[in-house]
Amino acid sequence: MGRGLKGFLRKLFKGLFARRKELNLGLYGPPNGGKTTLANRITLDWLGEEMGKTSPIPHETREIHLKEVVIKKGKKQLRFNLVDTPGIATKIDYEDFLKAGLPEKEAKKRAREATKGVIDAIKWLDNMDAVIVVLDATKDPYTQVNITIIGNLEARNIPILIVGNKIDLKRANLKKLERAFPQYKVIGISAKYGDGMDKFYEELFKLVK
């Protein structure tokens, strides 16, 4: 079945049976791309409070976090559930957490929880209405995890916005991200410092219109 027809049927089914007014906006990506930092930036901007804890050690977010947010642009208003998801990875080695300085017991616990987090993040793809793919703009975008995430969103006809985060760092290369995913809108932000957020909110309105 063609993607267009599948998308049409999906919308029709939702409209007829689901009667769901809530909009789930997911933050997806590999670990340490800055999903939670972006979630915190959004909730700080619009709710005045942070949403989750961040850490330089990967897999700090190991559970799905959800918060209702309302953003405004002129007379327009957008209400959605912001869904911060654990980073998707193909490997989780507890020894990496040991190297990052965690005690053994904590490293093992983190690894165990992180594997469950990856599974949950993938399962939650079916609940999303739109997704922001958060990628670290200083890193190589041509990874299979990135391609798998985007491929699965495409297959479900879920609108995608790609965000290249950490543009405050010298190594950031937004052009490379744009070349890797030419079929999508790619915008650069620094979730940590708030750079590029006006453009981000502007694109968010377009994404879920």
Binding site: A89, K91, T115, K123, Y142, T143, T148
Partner: protein, 129 residues
Amino acid sequence: MSPRKNTIEIQVLSMKELKGLSHVARVHKILNMVKEQRILLLDGNLEPSEEAELIKDTMKQVDRKFPGIEIGVLRIGEKDRTIGTRIREFFEKLLFGHKKGITIIGPANIVREIKQDPDKAILLMELKK
């Protein structure tokens, strides 16, 4: 049969071997081979849903000995595809059930990283003494 100790086995697997299997069975077969410390080269691509299933199943099996997998896909002819190429690919996919390309999957305790870009894939392996 698992590879001998201190050896690395690279197995080239035709997608025809996986044809007729359900998505779950395909993923199961691939993961079992990789868990036996083999690096697989498949002459095709998995569907995005199969890749997601592979990641989920991998996560369920992560333990001290098996930290997960590395996966990379070299998509042949992805760039500059003409309408004719796209039509041919459509029928190839219809007939053979997969897209053109090479998929590399290996255990993460051996394959440290797969660097990929549209034109090449580089396998970085950890050789333990």
